[in-house]
């Protein structure tokens, strides 16, 4: 198990009282054919920049793990002449292919919506960032539909009590990664709130990749489609020929 250590000085203006030190249990997750999901653990401490932590400070932590961004299209089925078919579509550009939001309490209890929006925290921020101009009611319906599909398919997840403080300054987050987790480079963003205001923030990275046979197959399918097709046909011809030989009745 490799340790990814990250040190963050307080990056937010007017809040240089604390800094965050975090560590991921793994910085590489390997997806194999027997992969049924994984759990990575994030530990962090809140450290005073000078002196000691203030006694009147109430801390909250939000951890956001985001997969590689992609452009997607959401479609809506409507009944037409008795059958259900895709009628309207809306595109969402640059949305993360995966996102898990973990926090000590529900996000809306930690900070007001404007603050969360400014920091880009929470699933709502994903659709807000993909907007072009003010959304109409149709776009808003699509945004809700998009988030619902992404949540039910395990691409997006919210864990309201996913971060726990083990002591006054030490916290821990268990991040579940489902079996279908997309591969690519992930960012892990940790935000510290003091009394409802952002106090420190820091980012580290995580790589989810396929290795060995899975990597070979996936890369071949996408980068060498022609050879991959030839190999599939060769396998089929061989299987068919072999079956003919084995089961041949004289």
């Amino acid at each position: 198990m490799s340790l990814a250590l990250a040190l963050f000085a307080a990056a937010l203006p007017g809040a240089a009282d604390e800094r965050l030190v975090t560590s991921l249990s793994e910085d590489v997750v390997s997806v194999t054919s027997s992969f049924t999901g994984a759990e990575i653990v994030l530990f962090g401490t809140v450290e005073p920049v000078s002196d000691v932590l203030r006694a009147d400070a109430a801390y909250d932590v939000v951890v956001e793990i985001s997969g590689p961004p992609e452009d997607v299209v959401a479609r809506r089925q409507e009944r037409f002449l008795g059958i259900w078919l895709n009628r309207r579509a809306e595109t969402f550009e640059g949305v993360p292919s995966f996102q898990a939001v973990l926090s000590t309490r529900p996000l809306d209890a930690i900070a007001p919506p404007e603050v969360l929006a400014e920091l880009g925290l929470g699933l709502e921020s994903i659709v807000a960032a993909a907007r072009r101009g003010e959304p109409g009611p149709e776009r808003e319906a699509f945004e809700a539909g998009f988030l619902h599909v992404m949540e039910t398919s395990d691409h997006y997840a919210v864990y309201d009590e996913g971060v726990t403080f083990l002591s006054r300054s030490l916290f821990r987050a268990d991040v579940p990664l489902p079996a279908t987790v997309p591969i690519g480079d992930y960012s892990v963003e940790v935000t510290l709130f003091r009394n409802g205001a952002p106090a420190a923030q820091g980012t580290s990275s995580l790589h989810v990749g396929k290795f060995g046979f899975e990597q070979l197959v996936t890369e071949a399918a996408h980068d060498r489609g022609f050879l991959y097709g030839l190999a599939t046909v060769a396998l089929a011809l061989f299987t068919g020929w072999l079956a003919g030989v084995i089961f041949r009745r004289e």
């Binding site: 992609e70 997607v72 599939t232 068919g240 079956a243």
Partner: protein
């Protein structure tokens, strides 16, 4: 994974039992069990290559293949497959691939199912009354045989215009690519009734054409749409070729009409299931895909 091997074996068993390729049952089964239509259609093409290989080789040993006719159909089929792959990609990017696959399956399977049921029930009734069913004789030379550009296919003892041969090959290649079927159940009657190919070479020639155009389809799908899943395909191939052997053994012990009636019922029920999926209110009306139409 066990489920997929079992499905491959079950469909292989049915294809051996009924003497059909089975693509038009395997593709729906995969779709119903949750494999995205796009993946199911493209991957089943590779399974059809495997299942038609052993059949083609067996018929070749018996000289039951008209090579010239088979290769002509295959060449036309490749053009049809090429158009099919292009249409498939276009439909996928506008989000209508599932709908088109569903609608064509409903129409095709209900039609084939009803025709088979009707024919086999009549035959059973006639057999019970002790009469031999009157087979409709293929009519005398129709308009197809008056078309120009005639070509001789020696082994089929056939002298016919190349136009219907090319059209038939291209149509089957196109449909096969779009639907993930070999098309044998359309090709066999078309060769017998439209082109008057002797029954002794029909099956072998059809298998050769299926083998060729499905191999081309697999390569085209893998190159352009990246929807062939080699692991899924391998499991279907193994299950399919093994199941087919047992199916063929059981099939020899059943009466022809009974077999055709059973197959007709099966085909019809798969068609009805597709129809139900088209009209039933979906549990989720929204779906999210990449811009090219692939699942996330």
């Amino acid at each position: 994974m066990f489920l997929i091997l079992a499905m491959g074996a079950a469909v292989g068993f049915l294809s051996g039992l009924f003497g059909i390729g089975g693509g038009f049952l395997l593709t729906p089964l995969l779709i119903f069990s949750g494999v995205p239509s796009a993946i199911a259609v493209a991957t089943v093409s590779s399974q059809i290559v495997a299942s038609s290989t052993s059949g083609t080789l067996a018929h070749m040993r018996r000289k039951g293949v008209d090579l010239k006719l088979g290769l002509t159909l295959f060449a036309a089929g490749s053009v049809g497959s090429g158009i099919g792959v292009w249409v498939y990609a276009a439909l996928r990017s506008v989000g209508q691939l599932d709908l088109v696959i569903g609608v064509i399956y409903v129409l095709m399977l209900s039609f084939v199912g009803i025709v088979m049921l009707n024919e086999s029930v009549r035959a059973m009734v006639a057999a019970r009354r002790g009469r031999t069913p009157v087979l409709r004789r293929p009519g005398t030379r129709g308009w197809i045989h008056r078309l120009p550009l005639k070509v001789r296919f020696r082994q089929s003892r056939l002298y016919v215009s190349i136009i219907p041969v090319l059209a038939l090959g291209a149509a089957i290649g196109f449909l096969g690519t779009l639907l993930g079927i070999g098309g044998g159940f359309i090709m066999v009657p078309a060769l017998i009734y439209l082109l008057r190919v002797p029954t002794s070479v029909v099956i072998g020639t059809t298998l050769l054409q299926t083998l060729g155009s499905m191999a081309v389809t697999t390569i085209l799908q893998a190159t352009t749409n990246h929807t062939v899943d080699i692991v899924l395909g391998a499991m279907l191939m193994v299950g399919g070729v093994v199941g087919a052997q047992f199916g063929a053994q059981v099939g020899q012990r059943l009466r022809g009409e009974t077999l055709r009636a059973l197959l007709g019922l099966l085909v019809l029920s798969v068609g009805l299931r597709f129809a139900y999926d088209l009209v039933a209110t979906p549990s989720e009306v929204y779906s999210v895909t990449t811009l090219a139409g692939a699942g996330l």
